[in-house]
């Protein structure tokens, strides 16, 4: 352990570091449990996401791994070092509720306050599924693993409770709700959260006062509020509307599922600057994207590569550049 700490002082890149962790995880079986425990504790202290890379091809052992790893760390949640953990996902597996098809095969992810994470990966790698599972979409069923949000089990909460707790998902293609005006929808959402927090509800006028600066910050016309939720919105308007909802709900962890898709350069810049404007020391972001251009606007602390339902590699922004240059194959080769 001491040796590893020393190595870090020499400023090695995170990807190299993660590779070191992978080798650590891959120890002979006698030391397996201990090795995992110590490495994950170490990474947590250093603010690095623990990798599941070493577990690949050892799916039979993952159960043991998850159980061993969870308990001591949950206990750690009370001490100072880990209290800034916002979301901690471990060994998460999930299937499509209808068909039983497995999409997530053991996802591990830790997000702390103030961090920005980006998940990249091919279509069908499970990125969107991960985000939907976290907010409780009924199309998916969690079959294993845990997800703790602010120290509470996310999977024990219904979707609206997850929202009240401060989790937000910006949908990739938000559904249209004809017959409900944006204003009514936003106010219902805002008041539902206020009620859950024990705050008094806002009347129509008070709410408008609360909303106006947020609209202005997003460069949105107030006429937007009279339109029905997402009905006839352009791609850019839908994304902007999602961000407006995020601003209203003041979420602590926002998952942005492809907010860059279908946006032209100007709209992307607008949306990205709105997102940056919402960043506070106490909140965090998880972005799902295909392209580096979004990461040029919103700088991630960590970049994760997802493949076949697992995070196969974690690094800094350089990983996104490597991806841009060499495609997913290069990353896979790197991940070994």
């Amino acid at each position: 352990m001491t040796k590893l700490r020393l190595v870090i002082k020499f400023n090695i890149t995170i990807s190299q570091f993660v590779r070191a962790s992978a080798s650590l995880v891959g120890r002979p079986s006698s030391a397996y449990g201990l090795g995992v425990l110590s490495s994950s504790r170490l990474f947590q202290g250093l603010g690095v996401v623990r990798q599941a890379g070493g577990v690949r091809g050892r799916r039979g052992k993952r159960g043991v791994f998850a159980t061993l790893a969870t308990r001591p760390e949950a206990a750690e949640g009370t001490d100072g070092a880990a209290s800034n953990v916002l979301l901690e996902v471990k060994g998460l597996t999930a299937v499509v509720a209808d068909s039983g098809k497995e999409i997530l095969r053991g996802v591990d992810l830790v997000i702390r306050v103030g961090e920005v994470h980006a998940i990249m990966g091919k279509n069908g790698s499970g990125k969107s599924t991960l985000s939907k599972v976290l907010v409780g979409h009924p199309d998916y069923e969690v079959t294993g693993g845990t997800a703790m949000f602010k120290g509470e089990n996310l999977f024990e909460k219904v979707p609206e409770e997850r929202s009240h707790a401060g989790l937000f998902l910006s949908f990739q293609s938000p559904i249209e709700v004809p017959g409900v005006s944006n204003m009514d929808f936003l106010r219902m959402a805002c008041n539902a959260r206020r009620t859950a927090l024990g705050l008094p509800e806002l009347g129509p006028l008070e709410f408008y006062g609360f909303l106006s600066p947020k609209l202005a910050a997003l460069n949105m016309d107030p006429s937007f509020l009279d339109r029905n939720v997402n009905e006839g919105f352009s791609g850019g308007e839908k994304k902007r509307n999602e961000i407006l909802q995020l601003a209203v709900l003041e979420a602590d962890l926002a998952i942005l599922d492809e907010i860059d898709s279908g946006l032209d350069v100007d709209a992307l810049r607008d949306v990205a600057s709105a997102v940056n404007g919402l960043r506070r020391p106490g909140n965090a972001l998880l972005m799902i994207t295909h392209y580096q251009r979004l990461l040029d606007y919103i700088k991630p602390t960590y970049v994760h590569i997802m493949e076949a339902g697992q995070i196969i590699k974690t690094g800094d922004t350089s990983l996104a550049s490597q991806l841009e240059a060499g495609g997913y194959k290069a990353i896979r080769d790197l991940a070994g």
């Binding site: 979707p159 609206e160 929202s163 559904i175 709700v177 009514d184 929808f185 859950a196 029905n228």
Partner: protein
């Protein structure tokens, strides 16, 4: 509050009823011409040969004739009315009371009316009826021209027609005298009964022709834009009708209001038809509305049916659209135990634009029926139809038959139809029959029909934003209808109708009336 889940049994029964069409939830199909549709067209036109005069019908026709004080027609207007009665009587002789063997009444049972004691509503004796209060029926701040029918007769004292532009005319047909009005108005009288002629003859149409004591005429000449909307209130007093202990001993008071709207070349106007009834009364309103649009005319039309829950409401709306004209209809049908609307739109020239959005709410012991028919015979017509209905009770029933016919020369037609039904109780029934008959070969037509519970994806969207499932359901049930109600043009009218719908849904425990949606 309990929200009942959609009952799969009732859905299956709906599927079973329609082998040919597929009202599969969520399925929207688009297709172009297919030759076999022509056969289907002929099949749906099936006329049932009458075995002989229908005694109940004849008896009713006679009662209606007797109820009217028919003087010798003196004015131009009364002459036109006499002609109408004559033609209608002729047609009534050869028609019969509809049964479920008639395609148009396959799912709508009107036989029960034969068991009732139908009494034509007596003509109002005084012009001012002290019992009629329509003060709540206004358009708020919006100034409107108002035409009020009491039991089918125009009440001049309740109507207000100040500020009508020169050469335009709104009022009773009986006041149309030679020399007193422009020749254009006189000419428009020839359209009475003609807008609807040559099409499917409906028994109730003939009955209206025989029994109409008056005709409201709205005439806007060439090039005139009527700035104020024309608000037409039909009030049924239900006098003479009463609710018996035994349903069979009940009497219904029958009124037969009739309206003729004529928009000259490039004229523009807006009409709002509102149907009301004396509370607790037993009435049958059998209305016919004819609308003729000349070349380039624009007519906006709102139609709100909020009659008493035990009343019978049967309405025919016949529209003929000249070239490049625009007709838009928004309908909300909420009241009545039986509510039937036959809507027919004929295209008489190219480049027409037609939009109709309809909403029906069928609660306890209510039947809501819309039969719409759009006939396109000229090129480049555009039409958009949206039909939505909610059935909230196991004894509720909704029927929709939406026909769009694109004839041989109607090339480059762009016709869209969408029907969505929401069933909120076990055994709630809806019969939908969207049908497109396309003969032209260069057209864009789409139709979709869905019968379902609420959309899961929408429900989840609400919950993901922190809104609990129950509130989300309330909001979504209400908004399902609000999609149509929102299209009503005046805020106060829209709010009034939305409150009515919200109240009905809340009364049946389907929504929480405090949801901050709409209003």
């Amino acid at each position: 509050m309990t929200l009942l889940p959609l009952h799969s049994v009732s859905l299956n029964s709906v599927h079973g009823l329609f082998g040919a069409v597929s009202p599969i939830p969520g399925v929207t199909a688009s297709f172009t011409e297919s030759a076999s549709l022509r056969d289907q067209a002929d099949a749906s036109l099936s006329l049932i040969s009458s075995p002989g005069p229908d005694l109940f019908l004849l008896d009713l026709a006679e009662k209606l004739e007797d109820s009217l004080a028919i003087d010798r027609p003196t004015s131009q207007g009364t002459q036109a009315l006499a002609r109408l009665r004559e033609q209608a009587a002729e047609k009534a002789l050869s028609s019969h009371w509809p049964t479920n063997r008639d395609e148009a009444y396959r799912f709508t049972d009107v036989r029960f009316i034969k068991e009732l004691n139908v009494i034509p509503a007596p003509l109002p004796q005084m012009d001012v009826d002290p019992f009629v209060d329509i003060s709540g029926q206004n358009l708020g701040e919006v100034e409107a021209l108002r035409l009020v029918f009491i039991d089918g007769v125009i009440s001049e004292s309740l109507s207000s027609l100040d500020g009508l532009p020169d050469m335009s005319f709104i009022g009773s047909i009986q006041s149309i005298l030679e020399g007193k009005v422009g020749s254009a108005v006189s000419q428009s009288l020839e359209l009475l009964g003609m807008v609807a002629s040559g099409t499917h003859d409906d028994t109730f149409m003939s009955l209206n022709g025989i029994g109409a004591p008056d005709v409201g005429v709205v005439f806007v000449p060439e090039g005139v834009h009527l700035e104020k909307p024309v608000h037409i209130i039909y009030y049924s007093s239900g006098r003479q009708g009463f609710q018996g202990v035994d349903e069979n001993l009940s009497s219904v008071s029958l009124s037969s209001p009739r309206l003729l709207v004529v928009a000259g070349k490039d004229a523009q106007l807006e009409i709002i038809e509102e149907f009301l009834g004396e509370s607790g009364s037993a009435c049958w309103t059998n209305c016919v509305c004819e609308i003729s649009l000349s070349q380039g005319a624009q007519v906006m039309h709102s139609y709100v049916q909020e009659q008493e829950r035990n009343s019978i409401h049967i309405k025919q709306t016949h529209v003929s659209q000249g070239g490049a004209s625009t007709y838009k209809l928004v309908e909300a049908s909420v009241g009545g135990r039986l509510s039937r609307h036959n809507l027919q739109i004929m295209q008489l020239g190219p480049d027409t634009h037609t939009e109709f959005s309809t909403f029906q709410l069928a609660g306890k012991r209510q039947l809501q029926d819309l039969h719409s028919r759009l006939v396109l015979s000229y090129p480049r017509g555009v039409s958009r139809q949206l039909h939505k209905c909610i059935v909230t009770d196991s004894t509720g029933h909704a029927v929709f038959d939406g026909n769009v016919r694109v004839n041989r020369y109607a090339q480059q037609t762009d016709a869209g139809q969408l029907s969505r039904s929401l069933l909120l109780a076990p055994r709630a029934t809806v019969n939908v029959k969207p049908n497109l008959q396309i003969i032209a070969d260069d057209v864009k037509c789409s139709h979709g029909a869905a019968i379902s519970d609420l959309e899961e994806e929408q429900l989840f969207y609400f919950r993901a934003r922190g809104i609990d499932a129950e509130t989300a359901r309330s909001a979504l049930v209400f908004s399902f209808g609000a999609e149509v109600l929102q299209r009503l043009s005046y805020e106060s009218l829209r709010k009034r109708v939305e409150a009515l719908v919200k109240g009905s849904l809340a009364a049946e425990g389907l929504i929480d009336s405090s949801i901050p949606v709409g209003l």
